[in-house]
């Protein structure tokens, strides 16, 4: 059956990007959200609000889960059991065990699982990763990644039990990128300052890769009004690649009244990485080939982020738990 309808679960910040993205790609979209905001969303962007998960699962061939992270596993497993392909917002889950269980559930049900690691579709990162893969810097020796912005306003982001905090929710992108360019991470050391629950907070992390590469990752959830900014430096024996998101603007305004500076980066709709991401997932579903980022990649990013949070709590370097965790159907994973 050709997938023509997407069931969007959740109506928060990222739903406002995914909904128009799916509609642009020609999908019908039904939206369900337990906070009652689905109709508000569909009134604004299009699509049809539905009142229950059952109704959503009846209508959709693809389920896109854009709810708070602590609810991902339950919803993904339910969608998989209903035989739907699943797109899941990053981070996949708050633990490696939950991530593995979700992968196993989708595998058992014979459906695909795509993690919405959108930075994999940001052009500066794809250009850098392609150059690294082509050997243009050699094996990276030292890397720096940063991701800075005002803290998200929805309270659940500031509850570590729900979002995993700054390291899990925001720096997961940079952990994924660092692993993409320099390979598996063996140990992490991290500090956090500021109150993770409210007010500005920042995480500094140092990663050691199996390749010998060392990586610095810095993230900020800052005060309202702090602009969104991200960038990287990747250096190897044969060259250097660097980028800052504010450095080469295509269009700049000046003299306007202060605009609201949200926690998501401004994107050009014509080349939106969010739409490119959803298009890649739709293509992968259509032709059965891999997407640019796999659920296994997402699990590994969760593994790094959980180790970073442990390092913050235990004030020491943490070796990543590298026990095998991807045996489909191995439910004991969840108890490890």
């Amino acid at each position: 059956m050709t997938a023509s309808t997407v069931g969007l679960v959740g109506a928060g910040g990222i739903a406002q990007v995914h909904l128009p993205g799916w509609l642009d790609l020609g999908f019908d979209v039904v939206v369900h959200s337990i906070d009652g905001k689905a109709r508000e969303l569909t009134d604004r962007f299009g699509g049809r609000a539905v009142d229950s998960m059952d109704e959503l699962l009846d209508a959709a061939q693809i389920v896109d889960v854009v709810t708070p992270t602590d609810t991902h596993r339950l919803i993904v497993e339910r969608a998989a059991a209903a035989g739907k392909h699943v797109v899941c917002e990053k981070p996949l889950a708050l633990t490696v065990a939950d991530s593995a269980a979700m992968i196993a559930a989708c595998s058992r049900a014979g459906v695909r699982l795509f993690p919405a690691h959108v930075v994999r579709y940001f052009h500066a990162y794809t250009a850098m990763q392609a150059a690294v893969a082509a050997g243009r810097v050699g094996t990276p020796a030292a890397q720096r990644f940063y991701r800075i912005g005002s803290a998200p306003k929805q309270p659940w982001f500031r509850d570590r039990a729900r979002s995993g905090g700054l390291a899990m929710d925001q720096l997961i992108h940079d952990f994924d990128q660092a692993r993409f360019s320099a390979g598996e991470v063996e140990t992490v050391y991290a500090t956090r300052t500021g109150d993770e629950g409210a007010g500005p907070t920042t995480v500094q992390a140092i990663l050691r890769h199996r390749s010998g590469t060392i990586t610095h990752v810095n993230g900020v959830w800052g005060r309202p009004g702090l602009g969104f900014r991200y960038g990287f430096t990747v250096v190897g024996p044969d060259g250097l690649l660097e980028h800052d998101s504010l450095r080469y603007p295509v269009l700049q305004y000046d003299g306007l009244a202060d605009a609201d500076k949200g926690y998501l980066p401004p994107v050009d709709p014509a080349s939106s990485p969010y739409t490119a991401e959803l298009a890649d997932f739709a293509r992968a579903i259509r032709d059965g080939s891999p997407a640019r980022v796999s659920a296994e990649d997402a699990l590994e990013a969760v593994r790094i982020a959980t180790a970073v949070n442990r390092s913050i709590d235990e004030h020491t370097e943490i070796a990543l738990d590298t026990a095998p965790s991807l045996h489909a159907g191995d439910d004991r994973e969840g108890e490890r």
Binding site: I214, T233, V235
Partner: protein, 344 residues
């Protein structure tokens, strides 16, 4: 004023000599007796002094017999202590290249020697003299940015290829960690008077310029007594043929907003068709000249220059803790009996 320079081992000496040559109130003489000990092909000695246009004497004894008011010590890091002790004993005020020494006992000997002789001791941290750093410090101390949470610093440069000793762990006290951690560490100390570095975690590798004995890339995490954390990228990670030597950046993350400091950012960009390479015309305040001005002004009026020997010692203690962490794989306390770094 008579200013002597001991050794061209550190190439900053070339910059200092040229600046002093152009000052009408200064007479500058260099000695570089260890030139012969450096590998063949490295510049130095009388020929280098003449090419810059400053005076030259063959030995440290001759230089000190000339009775300089002040001496700038630019020998290999491990040799700072002997040169400072001799020059201070001869009554000269001292500006010592960074890092102050390669071990804590040597750094303490340097400070004690200057105290005993009643001469000033300054550590060469020129980036402190960035005007925008002074503005940032003023803004932070006025409370305009609220509490500082954390700092991301990077001091990256090319491998200092014109002198082999920089990658000799015995003479240099290490590699990139010893050479490039101290500038940002000093800038952070300068922002927080009275605050101590408490704990350091560091990692390093030799993947860049793998033929060298010392580490060429490093990341140093520092926790301070006021709760601030910092990470410093001290890597010699600027490619050999990059259009500039490198640079330094510092992001201060505070409750009231962030500040990004890039003292070497000012430049005109371009491209040379003749050279088929980018053009990078740096400009801005000559930080070496500003630092020498502070040193000579302090000497002239008999006040303590800033940053002083204790500032040099504190930055060195961070480096020593970083090497301890690299050796053990665990966070290290910043303490007063750090191991001899040349043994790591």
């Amino acid at each position: 004023m008579k200013v002597g320079i001991i050794s061209f081992a550190h190439t900053h000496a070339l910059s200092y000599a040229a600046i002093l040559r152009d000052r009408s109130d200064v007479e500058c003489v260099v000695t570089d007796p260890d030139h012969a000990l450096r590998p063949a092909g490295e510049s130095g000695g009388r020929a280098l002094a003449e090419s810059i246009g400053v005076g030259y004497l063959d030995t440290v004894d001759e230089l000190l017999a000339w009775h300089p008011d002040a001496v700038i010590v630019c020998s290999e890091n491990a040799r700072h202590v002997d040169d400072v002790e001799r020059a201070a004993a001869a009554g000269a005020h001292i500006l010592c290249e960074k890092p102050l020494a390669t071990t804590r006992p040597d750094a303490v000997r340097i400070i004690d020697a200057c105290d005993r002789a009643g001469v000033s001791l300054m550590t060469a941290f020129p980036v402190r003299f960035t005007p925008q750093y002074a503005e940032l410090r003023h803004r932070l101390q006025s409370g305009a940015l609220g509490e500082v949470l954390s700092i991301s610093g990077a001091n990256n440069g090319r491998l200092p290829a014109e002198r082999a000793w920089f990658t000799d762990p015995v003479l240099a006290g290490g590699g990139a960690v010893a050479d490039h951690t101290v500038h940002v560490a000093d800038l952070v100390f300068g922002l927080f008077p009275g605050v101590d570095a408490v704990k350091v975690f560091a990692v390093a590798n030799r993947m860049l310029h793998a033929d060298r004995e010392a580490e060429t890339a490093g990341l140093v995490s520092i926790e301070y007594s006021n709760g601030v954390t910092a990470v410093i990228d001290c890597s010699w990670s600027v490619p050999d043929h990059y259009p500039t030597w490198g640079g330094l950046t510092m992001r201060v993350i505070a409750e009231g907003g962030n500040a990004e400091l890039a003292p070497f950012a000012e430049r005109v960009d371009g491209f040379s068709e003749t050279d088929r390479s980018p053009v990078w015309l740096s400009y801005g305040v000559d930080l070496d000249a500003a630092m020498l001005d502070e040193f000579l002004s302090a000497v002239a009026v008999g006040r303590r220059p800033v940053p002083d020997g204790l500032d040099g010692l504190r930055a060195l203690e961070v480096v020593l803790a970083a090497y301890e962490s690299i050796a053990t794989g665990h966070p290290a306390s910043v303490h007063q009996d750090s191991p001899d770094i040349s043994s790591v």
